[in-house]
């Protein structure tokens, strides 16, 4: 075992090595100086959900969400609130009039994304969403939630390519059937 105090001195050698190492070895000094430098978040990284739309000129009409409320029911902490949009006659328009996500309740589990059959809701990776208030300000409403498909393609390229291809295939299939689009929401393509 050596002499008494050897363990203590060994420890001091380790800390000295780390002290010196932190000046030269990037592996040892892993701290990132946050506002100036940022870590590149991995593509899979997720924070809060957003809604995808296809056409930049007309976000509200080209959003993929049809207000089917599947995510509302499946959401484990029940942080999603959806009201379907209706026209003057009270006929459902198949798009949400209200789509609220309470980000103070949302636990970023991605289940809404997984269950959505229309690829309408996706996970954002924007982690800088601090607000001053604790209650109302943390609720995200429809206009805040809508983001373009390009944005989605930018933050998650791999995933978006797959989704785009899938949607394109579906659209072509539909076009082959030559059914009129009618009240169906326009499905996405890389426009």
């Amino acid at each position: 075992m050596g002499f008494i105090g050897k363990g203590l001195l060994d420890g001091m050698v380790v800390t000295a090595r780390n002290f010196v190492g932190s000046y030269f070895d990037k592996e040892r000094l892993v701290t990132v100086q946050y506002p100036e430098e940022r870590v590149q978040t991995p593509e899979n990284s997720r924070t809060f959900p957003f809604l995808v739309y296809d056409d930049n000129k007309n976000p509200v009409d080209t959003m993929r969400c049809v207000a089917c409320k599947i995510c509302e029911t499946e959401c484990p902490p029940q942080c999603i609130y959806i009201v379907m949009d209706r026209d003057e006659k009270g006929k459902p328009r198949q798009r949400p009039k209200v789509f609220d996500i309470d980000t103070s309740v949302c636990m970023q589990c991605q289940i809404c994304v997984e269950v959505c059959p229309f690829d309408a809701i996706k996970m954002d990776n924007d982690y800088e969403k601090s607000r001053y208030g604790r209650f109302d300000e943390l609720v995200e409403h429809l206009p805040d939630l809508l983001k373009s498909n390009e944005y989605y393609g930018r933050i998650k390229p791999t995933e978006a390519t797959v989704v785009d291809a899938k949607l394109k295939a579906e659209k072509e299939k539909k076009a082959k059937k030559a059914a009129p689009a009618g009240a169906k929401p326009p499905t996405g393509s890389k426009s």
Binding site: T15, N18, F19, S22, T31
Partner: protein, 364 residues
């Protein structure tokens, strides 16, 4: 008289402020992080920011606290720490006060600081504070004894209690270095004993038992906030710096070093050496703080009484041997053997069956 005192107040308070910064930076680097680096370049203004922040912070006094004692404690914590500096010879031409009882004065003053810890802990009416106060009292009382005895060795060798005389006794030799007491067998042992004692006395890790954060929140200063808290911190840091200064004076040759001398130039060089050594002691403190875990209170007391006390008495005997064996090589061999013998015996006695390396098996 006035200039040295001004010097002590300004320079050592500055050293205190920047010790906190250096400590935080060094601990940060030891722990692979940056440490404060936002206020000014390299965090150079951090102590000022800390001071301002603590000044304008609300001062909270518990309603059931003993108001007067609670108020008095932080004040008393600082006074002895500042007084300690008065006997530290900073350079050949700069000693604040040359008392002929310098070392004794230092010990007398440093014992008063324990009162502050007790008063703070007791007056807060907090059970954690009370535990901290009890620990502080027990710890300081136990460590005083081996520390004084370790200093007695030096006093015996020099024949004076004056810190200036002690520093002077270590000049000469090759490059003003070889006569430092730390390069004597008894001096080395005394240095180690005194350093341990000083660390315990000023409640530095691994002896920060009175304010053990993970056990009793913050010990005696749990209920202090704002500038009173700052005063406690200041007292503690100043005491530890002053103790480092006294250690330097007694064992590390004080202001002596290559080039130090009585003239103006020599005086400046001697100050340089003193501060270098002081920095060394402070860095050693920080380094230890970044590495070792804290000992337990009963282990600490046991260590003081069972290991440090016998060892310091043996050290006094060694000084006697050194004094009477005028043939130096013989003195070297004899004192070294004597001290090693004691060290081995004591470590054998102290090592109980509790602490042993273990072997582990694997489940079949």
């Amino acid at each position: 008289m006035a200039i040295p005192i001004l010097f002590v107040l300004s320079v050592f308070l500055g050293i205190f402020a920047y010790t906190t910064l250096v400590e935080r930076k060094a601990l940060g680097r030891i722990q692979n992080r940056f440490g404060p680096n936002r206020v000014g370049r390299w965090g150079i203004l951090q102590p000022i920011a800390d001071g301002l922040k603590l000044l304008i912070k609300e001062d909270i006094v518990p309603r059931r606290a003993d108001q007067f004692v609670h108020f008095l404690a932080p004040v008393i914590a600082v006074i002895p720490s500042i007084l300690l500096f008065s006997v530290v010879p900073v350079g050949t031409r700069l000693v604040p006060v040359d008392l002929n009882i310098g070392i004794l004065f230092a010990f007398a003053v440093s014992t008063v600081s324990v009162l502050a810890l007790f008063m703070g802990g007791w007056a807060s009416r907090n059970k954690f504070s009370l535990l901290g106060a009890m620990r502080a009292v027990a710890q300081v009382v136990s460590y005083e004894v081996p520390m004084v005895l370790a200093a007695v060795a030096v006093v015996m060798a020099v024949g004076s209690l004056s810190t200036l005389r002690i520093a002077r006794a270590q000049s000469g030799g090759i490059l003003n270095v070889t006569n430092w007491f730390v390069f004597r067998p008894w001096g080395f042992v005394g240095f180690v004993l005194f350093t341990i004692g000083a660390m315990a006395e000023s409640a530095r890790t691994p002896f920060d038992i009175p304010e053990a954060e993970s056990e009793i929140i913050a010990g005696y200063h749990t209920e202090y906030s704002g500038f009173k808290f700052a005063l406690f911190q200041m007292g503690e840091y100043l005491a530890s710096i002053a103790m480092a200064g006294i250690t330097v004076t007694m064992f590390l040759g004080g202001y002596n070093g290559p080039g130090s001398g009585p003239g103006w130039v020599g005086g400046l060089i001697s100050m340089f050496w003193f501060f270098i050594k002081l920095a060394f002691m402070i860095v050693l403190n920080i380094w230890i703080r970044g590495t070792w875990p804290r000992v337990r209170v009963d282990q600490l007391l046991g260590f003081a009484w069972k290991v440090l006390l016998p060892m310091s008495i043996a050290n006094i005997v060694a000084v006697g041997m050194w004094h009477y064996l005028t043939f130096r090589p013989l003195a070297w061999v004899a004192t070294t053997l004597w001290l090693v013998l004691w060290f081995v015996t004591l470590s054998k006695l102290a090592a109980t069956e509790n602490v042993a390396p273990r072997t582990y098996r694997y489940a079949s």
